[in-house]
């Protein structure tokens, strides 16, 4: 089993390396003179020269890649062209702020999704099941900003003006100092992914409940609660972990739109600014960061899958 996990780990590392390559190659796509493309036509010669030196443009491509990769590996993400400061400083607080958003939304949606999905599966074909399926089908269709705007109209401006629609904390102060400003962004993100987790949990649980071993457990006269906890649930964990991982990765992308909508001082907002400013090194750093989060989350899900599968777990003893 440990060999399997180590192999999975190596695959993740290889993918991560290819991702760095892809992110770096993207910068080669900058049309014409990259410095002109970044700074625009009105740039002074001094700034152009400074940027050329900073981007190391006179060095061969592979050397530039190695320098950049070396920086990334040692934790130096480069220099922002827009602020002229280190990317690390720019992102430091924002990573924390985004993580708060992500973790809160992930915990909320996972708990609600698993509970609703299981409940729905146990009431298959009844009114409650149809209601849950219908609602999750509708919400699953909506893009993040549609849900966000709907929540703003409903809870912040027009119908019930209860919560702030934008983040108000002054720069420097942590976002969680005013918890009310977190509610709408977290709720939006949670609403985006909960339907998927619910649907998947329902499908997986239905399949498990129809399985031969659950029927057998019932025919053995095992109490229903034990049937669920001992015979059904453990088999749903593996596949559902995969879906949750996929949804968390989706959150990592959705966070961009949500932060922009609520003017939330996180990584996603920074990415939009950087794209608008053509702040290439910041864009590189953030896309790499988000991809890394995705890869790690998926790795964890696969490891959960391996650990919950007795066939893989006992492979060595065979």
């Amino acid at each position: 089993m440990s060999r399997l996990i180590v192999r999975r780990l190596l695959v993740s590392l290889a993918v991560l390396w290819l991702v760095t390559l892809l992110v770096f190659v993207a910068t080669l796509l900058l049309p014409g003179d990259p410095v002109r493309a970044i700074l625009g036509q009105q740039a002074t010669p001094e700034r152009i020269a400074a940027l050329r030196a900073q981007l190391d443009l006179d060095a061969p491509v592979w050397e530039r890649y190695l320098n950049w990769l070396g920086g990334v590996v040692t934790g130096d993400l480069g220099t922002s062209t827009a602020t002229q400061g280190p990317v690390n400083d720019l992102l430091g607080d924002r990573i924390g702020a985004s993580l708060v958003l992500l973790v809160a939304a992930a915990v909320l949606s996972t708990l609600v999704g698993l509970a609703l999905g299981t409940w729905s599966a146990l009431r298959r074909g009844r009114a409650a099941d149809h209601t849950v399926s219908g609602i999750s089908l509708v919400i699953a269709a909506l893009p993040e900003f549609v849900i966000g705007v709907a929540l703003i109209v409903l809870l912040s401006t027009t119908v019930f003006p209860l919560l702030p629609s934008v983040t108000l904390a002054p720069p420097g102060e942590p976002v969680w100092s005013q918890p009310s400003q977190l509610v709408l962004p977290v709720l939006t993100l949670a609403l985006v992914v909960t339907p998927y987790i619910t649907r998947m949990m329902r499908a997986t649980m239905s399949e498990v409940l129809d399985s031969g071993y659950v029927e057998m457990a019932r025919l053995k006269g095992i109490p229903e609660k034990t049937v669920l906890l001992r015979h059904a649930l453990p088999h749903a964990i593996g596949p559902v972990a995969q879906v949750i991982a996929l949804q968390l990765a989706w959150l990592a992308g959705g966070v961009v739109v949500v932060e922009f909508l609520f003017r939330y001082p996180g990584v996603g907002q920074a990415l939009i600014d950087a794209v608008n400013n053509r702040d290439v090194e910041v864009v590189q750093a953030i896309t790499l960061l988000i991809a890394a989060v995705y890869i790690v989350v998926n790795l964890l899900a696969d490891i959960v899958g391996i650990l919950t599968n007795p066939k893989l777990r006992t492979e060595v003893t065979r």
Partner: protein
Amino acid sequence: MTTQVAVTNALEVSELRVHTLAGSPVLKGVSYAIAPGEVLALVGESGSGKTTAGLAALGHFRRGLAPAGGAVTASPRDGEPVDVLGLGERERRALRGHTLAYVPQDPALSLNPALRIGRQIAEVLEAHGYGASGEERAARVAEVLGEVGLPADENYQRRYPHQLSGGQQQRVGIAMAFACRPSVVVLDEPTTGLDVTTQTLVLRTVAALTAEHGVAALYITHDLAVVSAIADRVAVMRGGEIVECGAAEEVLRRPAHAYTRELVDAVPDLDGGGGLPEPDGDTETLRVTGLSVSYGEHRVLRDVSLTVHSGECLLLLGESGSGKTTLSRCVAGLNEHHTGTVELAGTALAPSTRRRTAEELRAVQYVFQSPYSSLNPRRTIAQSVEVPLEMLTELPKAARRERVAETLDRVRLSRTLAGRLPDQLSGGERQRAAIARALVTTPKVLLCDEVTSALDVSVQATIIDLLCELRAELGTAMVFVTHNIALARHVADRIAVLRGGEIVETGPVGDVLSAPRHEYTRELLANTPRM
């Protein structure tokens, strides 16, 4: 409530009706009774409702089904008879596993893959409060494992289901059922998918346990030969009804109902058959020499050689894992990773179909095991049968159509079915279509890979008759691959026994069946149930 009688039936089912939720009947008034220590076989083909009837005895109905009348009366060892269907879910649960036990068809699906087998047996005991203490229960787990002929030690109990063979898994299922000393056990095709030697072992275990502990057993099966080996009485089911019920000997020897007669006649018998056409047999059509296949360390076939003459049928006998399908695929050109040669009328064939000429491809044809997967679900029957002509001949479209129609006639498939899709046909009709596709190029060699094992007994017999007739009409050399030695006299002239990738015995059918030379063949013959 009846007053206590000296001998009561352990299970009585009367006028049981089960409907789908939409209201169409699945069981139309089924009645039977089983006394303690008695084995009643419930026989029926697929779709007869036999599994529904078996589960209903435990008061269990699968999703989409509901009881619509009738009664199930069970007598616990230590109490009054109870009406199972009249009980609430909680009381029914108390009966299941305790008074009424169930042995499922496929233990690979029915044992929880994530729980150790000892745990799964102990669980039944715990649920029903068997024994006073944990030690007592542990002792019972060990005891019942011993009763079904499995090791009872701690180490064995700590195994997971996937670490056991199919036969061992099934015996764990039986141990689970007998753990609480139930008064009734329902066994749902418990030996399907097991090889004959293991089947005999399982049947003996069941017979011993029911006799020894006075357990009433409902043995559900489609296999009449197994019935004669285990059952005291037999009930024949068809379309949700019991059409005939009586002592096993009586029903099998002198069936009263037409359907039962049809079933009994259709069962291939080791001693039956005969009257096969004499092969003209002097031209050697197919010769396989020194064929070996290995996947890594695992050797699937070792140095296999055989010959088949024109108009002759060779029965290639082997259990699952013997390499019989690999061998036939090598001949067909579907497995190119082999050494050794395959010759057609003296000319060596290339290992892969891609390197064979159209003429060679036309000459070697293959009929697959399951007609449910061998026909493209998106093509009509006529289109599927036409494909070989399209790929392997230069015939114009009109001539191809003509040939397809002729071939469908030849396999006795109505031309009206030609425009249908496979899922609008029955299993037997599909297999005829698949045979038509193989015959449309008038092959010299026809390879039939377990062509009857996915079909019901009565359909199996008609397909076998068809193949025999075709062989006589066309003089095709045939290789009939099967795990069922009982088919031998019904189809084949010669037999080759394959075991672990080696041919251990070969010879004319009569000689091999009456005087087997190899130990393995003798064992197979001894373990094959006869009617």
